[in-house]
Symmetry: C2
Subunit: 424 residues, 2 copies
């Protein structure tokens, strides 16, 4: 007999024999009857058994064979009666948290220490379902626009992107580093494929314990060539974000419902302001070189009240304070063609048009007092003909964290890594 998923029970014929597989979600012993709730990947099903039936403990994997029976009181209107229950593994130990409760009320340490168990809670699991659906939407959007998926090495020879915050690896007796981003590779690959994306881990030896940083996270990187300027890059970002929301709608509807979420609306054109204006709105000094979390919160509120938008693009950050490969505004090189996307008051995405001329790289490295040698492989690539290009990077966990308004990014990370945590 083929397995029936619990989500398919409502479509069975009354009296049909069914075979369910899943976990003991809950046992309830009443005077005249025993209720068993079986949970599979699609949800719960109610199984009715005689009073006093001996059942394996919660979280034990089981198989139930029985009769699909209409009952308006049961979830989905169908329950399983005249059932036999078979354990598919040993009886499970009592979980660290009661997974059958509607909400998962536990402190962060328990949530993370027992991640393999706590992710089983339907509401907790829903958060990762948003992540997985977002990834599908991300790729579908870019595949449809003729992008090529790439995979660049995570072991690199130079700690160049930013001297600090880099992990050192013993690489056959010499030092190597964990890539802080696929930045240098995706730019070089624009020379090959014109348009590339990569989904993969990036590593930051972040020495501070904050609610929004991780030592390892999933970065969604995009880079595209033959652009006029950064506005084309921002238009691409807009499509990608819209695609991620559509991915959630299409593939994670039940998760959205379980979480009681309202998904953000992505406007056809995301409200866009210059960095100077952003400082004004955030009531920051005019010579402030960057936006801090407080400024971002203020800008998030402004975007909501002025534009009814969860999203705000800030362009034109001061060139000197962005990565050296950011393209300056040709009309006033004090400002750059770099941008951030603020989502509900937090920086979600950084992007820019990049430099594409070798001479500009050489001059910028000089101006910043960076040595040439460590950048040589990367910078030399620009002597081989790289068109005007730009791109951006989205942090997956930060995206999901803001969607569900998690107070700590670790809550939406399967197995987070930080200053103190390297397991599970």
């Amino acid at each position: 007999m083929r397995r029936t998923l619990t989500s398919a029970l409502p479509a069975t014929r009354p009296g049909e024999q069914v075979r369910l597989q899943g976990w003991v979600h809950r046992r309830r012993e009443l005077a005249k009857v025993t209720f068993l709730v079986l949970r599979d990947r699609t949800g719960p099903a109610q199984v009715v058994l005689p009073a006093g039936t001996d059942l394996p403990p919660e979280e034990t994997p089981i198989e139930v064979v029985g009769t699909a029976t209409r009952n308006e009181q049961a979830p989905g209107g169908v329950e399983v009666t005249e059932a036999t229950v078979t354990a598919l593994s040993e009886p499970a130990d009592t979980p660290a948290v009661e997974l059958w409760r509607p909400t998962l009320d536990t402190g962060l340490p328990t949530l993370l220490d027992h991640a393999a168990t706590t992710w089983r809670h339907p509401v907790q699991r829903a958060k990762w379902e948003l992540a997985a659906a977002s990834l599908r939407g991300f790729r579908e959007t870019l595949d449809a626009q003729d992008f090529t998926e790439v995979h660049s090495p995570k072991l690199v020879e130079q700690a160049t992107e930013s001297g600090a915050n880099v992990f050192t690896v013993d690489y056959f007796g010499r030092p190597a580093y964990l890539a802080q981003s696929p930045q240098f590779y995706k730019q070089q690959l624009v020379g090959v494929f014109e348009r590339v994306y990569e989904v993969g881990p990036v590593f930051r030896a972040e020495p501070h314990d904050t609610v929004r940083h991780l030592a390892e996270y999933v970065s969604l990187d995009v880079e595209l060539g033959f652009v006029e300027d950064h506005h084309e890059v921002m238009a691409c970002l807009r499509d990608v974000i819209a695609g991620m929301v559509e991915g959630i709608e299409r593939y994670a509807g039940p998760a959205v419902e379980r979480l009681g979420l309202t998904l953000p609306h992505v406007p056809d054109r995301i409200p866009t302001i210059h960095f100077r204006r952003a400082l004004e709105i955030a009531a920051a000094p005019v010579d402030e070189p960057d936006l801090n979390p407080g400024h971002e919160r203020a800008l998030g509120e402004w975007a909501r009240s002025e534009h009814g938008s969860d999203f705000l693009l800030v362009e034109g950050y001061p060139t000197a304070h962005r990565a050296f490969y950011s393209h300056p505004d040709p009309d006033d090189p004090h400002w750059s063609r770099a941008f951030d996307l603020i989502f509900r008051g937090i920086e979600l995405v950084s992007g820019a048009q990049r430099l594409h001329r070798y001479d500009d790289y050489v001059r910028t490295l000089e101006e910043r007092g960076y040595p040439y040698a460590p950048y040589a492989t990367y910078v030399e690539a620009f002597r081989r003909g790289i068109p005007p290009h730009g791109g951006f990077a989205i942090g997956l966990e930060r995206w999901v964290g803001r969607l569900v308004e998690a107070p700590n990014i670790r809550e939406v990370t399967l197995f987070p890594r930080d200053l103190h945590r390297l397991a599970p």
Copy 2:
């Protein structure tokens, strides 16, 4: 004026004004005319210019605006005339290889040292296009079967999967390791999502220089719960491989053509033999514990001549010589429920039904003389109710390497990492 891709030129109206963007692929100066071949991500286009036109060197990014004109001699039957050519960046330096030649005849060191350039060659680029299309096919197959994409950490606390061949990381002053596979995580996540897959980097400090090993490669990992035995896992693997071939057919047709490839046929049921039979066929001693590359070649030839198949599944490897989490054959625990997929004479995939009972893990660790402590987090997860499950891992580069019959796996890796190579 919107950009026209070279692949769209045949669909233009005669006399239509077009704007192309791409690279100078080749310049040819004849007595009465200058030919320019522009290359974009979809292919080449011929541009006809007056004799003596000054053109930027090969590989310079350019824009061409001109008139689409029928010419049976031109590629695609349409060329661009009355054109103006504008450079979009500095003139490119002479590339390390002549990219306009139909084949890329260069030694491996040049190919790899100048990867960002050599990948531009249409035939070389086609190899990665197979990889990208395979990834799409992989995900589409599993998404349709209700799998959830996951991302597990690459920084791990214990070097447990195999004591040797592991890279050590300085993790905020204490040692951490780079994950050799997502094995432990994907098994634990079966307890959450039932069916999971991950595409990501894995790291092996492989101290030998071989043509089929890399220090970092892309692993396509799959794990599924509620299986009867490993045959269900092998059936899933068959669907995945078929999906990868379909992905190539659907999304990389031009690459297949450029490479002159014949794609493998994936039979509805891949021929499957027991390990004992495999030893016989390979004329190996009956007490041989594993198959070596010579055996695999012999088996590949046998599968082709006996079954007309590029694929062969070998099941039942000796339990003692497989990973400790492999499930023994209950009828004769000397043999396991582990399998390999041999593709054209090379092991492409390893998989198995895994142990799912805590007690079996404890006993197996004891029998092998492994200490419990380093495995504790992983093994404890099996006290929380993990159903019978199994899975497999496909090496992306090895897959593409066999598809194009590359003599060295480095030829199909964007930026390979090995004992000696950490750049570019």
